[in-house]
Each structure stands twice: as C-alpha cells, then as structure tokens.
C-alpha cells in the first residue's frame, strides 16, 4: 500500500476521488441492506454478505432470487455467474499490483468494479494505479458495510416491504446496475433477449432458474459474434 514515488498532491487527488466513490457506494449499500432484509434475510446474514461476498451485483442477485422463492442453489449459481467478471478484473490487475501472500488475499477481496475502474483510470505511473486500487477498494469496503448495516437495521425496524415499495426497489437496483453496460446495440440485444428468455420460462421453471437460463443467452451471443468476426 506504500506509494513512495508518487507526489503527494497526486496521491491526495486520487484519495479524494476514492472517498467520493466510497460515499456513493455507501448510499447504494443502504439500499442493499434494506432490500436484503425485506427479502427475508436477517440483518446478520445481510452483513455477512457485505463483509465476505463484497460484490454488489452478486449480493443483490442472491437476495433477489431467495426473496422470489428460488432455491439456495439457484441463488448461489446466479451470484457466482455475476461475480465471474471480478476474476477478469483480478487478471488485469495482477501485473500492476504485484501482490503476494496476505496482501494478495486482501487485494482479491477488494477486486470489484470500482477499484478496478479507478486503477485503470490512473495507469501512469504504476504507483498511481496501485494507490487508486487500494484507496478505492478500502473506502468502498468500509462505506459499503456501514451502508449495509444502516439499511438492514432501518428495514428491520419498518414493517411490510410492499407498503414502502421496497419490492419495486429491487428491479430498480438491477436496472441501475445494468444501465451503464448498455453501450451499444449488441448489449441492448443481449439484454432484451435475456429478459425475454427469463419471462417466457418463469411459468415453467422454479423461481431462480429462468434467470440462470438467461445466462445462456450470453454464451449463444458470444458464439454468434465470434463466428461473425
């Protein structure tokens, strides 16, 4: 985490962006905590997810599938599939971070959308990328967990989730995660096909499985694109 060769002004600028990103994700952690408890998890289970799983998309997916009455296996598989992208982030971060031992274990936990994006946004010098990764990862980790705690306790204190529209907050959270990824026609086509597959299969399969089946759309689309290029 030491960044000796980086001018302190540069370092401060990165740190303040990292805290800003942490505050934004903390607000998002608040909604995760509330939605998770409204989906039937306890506050302790909700906090465990933020402390251990620490990847928002997978956490929302897991509680979403469980709350919809899907089985534990379908919930776990959906979370894993959504978390697979973090492995790609780790691959791209490994040469920059050069971590071993315990620091590698810590870097792995902090490898998420935000920390990777901040590191990629500050490629030179490599000390800046490392500083951006660690500061963003730590700031998001702390504030995401505080947000989760407040959201979970808040939701536990209020009654029926439907009265407050918390059931409507769940698809809103997913569309907010999806929105920045809809950058071109291919992404729109894959999104619409994924949604259509899931809806067609909803009456036919147990809750949770239609979403997993939509994952196949990504595989088919990838094969089609590969053949075309």
């Amino acid at each position: 985490m030491s960044t000796p060769d980086l001018p302190s002004s540069h370092r401060r600028r990165i740190t303040s962006s990292a805290v800003g990103i942490g505050l934004a994700t903390g607000a998002y952690g608040l909604s995760f905590g509330a939605i998770s408890v409204a989906s039937g998890l306890t506050a302790v289970q909700t906090q465990t997810l933020s402390l251990l799983m620490f990847t928002g998309g997978s956490q929302f997916a897991l509680v979403g599938v469980l709350g919809a009455g899907g089985g534990a296996i379908a919930a776990v598989l959906t979370a894993w599939l959504l978390g697979a992208r973090n492995g790609m982030y780790a691959l791209s971060m490994a040469p920059t971070l050069q971590v071993t031992g315990l620091r590698r274990l810590a870097a792995a936990e902090l490898t998420i959308d935000e920390s990777t994006a901040m590191a990629l946004a500050h490629p030179e010098p490599p000390e800046a990328a490392r500083h951006a990764f660690w500061r963003t990862g730590l700031s998001v980790y702390v504030l995401w967990n505080i947000g989760t705690l407040l959201g979970a306790l808040g939701a536990a204190a209020i009654g029926d989730p439907a009265t407050l529209g918390l059931d409507a907050a769940i698809p809103a959270a997913f569309i907010a995660l999806l929105w920045p990824r809809l950058v071109d026609r291919t992404m729109w086509a894959v999104a619409l096909a994924g949604a259509a597959v899931a809806l067609v299969l909803t009456p036919l399969l147990r809750p949770g499985l239609p979403v997993l089946a939509a994952g196949l759309v990504a595989l088919v689309a990838s094969m089609l694109i590969g053949r075309r290029t």
Binding site: G87, G165, A191
Partner: protein, 103 residues
C-alpha cells in the same frame, strides 16, 4: 438454507476474485473469454430486472412494480445517482398503492 446460500455464495465469489491473481495473464487475450465475461452480466441483470418486475412466484403479473421501474428508467435517463433511482422507484410504487391504484 439461507445461511448455506450466504456462505457458499460468498466463498465462491471470493475464489473467483482470487483465482484471477493466480492464472496466467494470457487468459485475458482469449477473445471468447473476454466476450462472455462482458455479456454475462448484461444477460443476467436484464433477466433479474424482468423477473423482479413481473413475477410473483411462477405467475406473471402487472402491478405497481412496473410503474416503479418506469420511474427508475426516467431517473437513469436524467443521470440520477443510484440511491435516487432506487428511492424514486420505491416511492412511485408506494404512492400508487396508497392511492389504491395497482397492487
């Protein structure tokens, strides 16, 4: 049951992150790996949006959640931050229900 999902999901998601620090960097150069990694979240998140908006168990219904989703999309088009998007959706659905419209 829920604890199993919480722990198995967490351990698996952590290992996915960790394995990236042990695999050779050349895996990233495989175009089909990169493509699937980019497309998978899009297909899954879109499916989650659809199911969480329309499904009650195995039945498809139209209720106040759809109005909430529409409000969320408008908020996103106006570049609202995450928490605002979620709150706008919840408030829209809650207000419709309080007014006796939508279930």
């Amino acid at each position: 049951m829920i604890w199993f999902a919480v722990l198995a999901g967490s351990i698996g998601c952590y290992l996915e992150k960790l394995v990236g620090y042990f695999l050779p960097h050349s895996v990233l150069e495989n175009p089909s790996v990169r493509r699937v990694a980019g497309l998978l979240p899009v297909a899954l998140l879109a499916a989650l949006v659809a199911v969480q908006t329309f499904a009650v168990g195995q039945t498809l219904v139209i209720d106040a959640r759809l109005a909430g989703l529409a409000a969320a999309i408008i908020a996103l088009m106006l570049r609202a931050p995450f928490l605002v998007v979620v709150v706008v959706a919840a408030v829209t659905a809650a207000a419709l229900r309080a007014a006796g419209l939508g279930t």
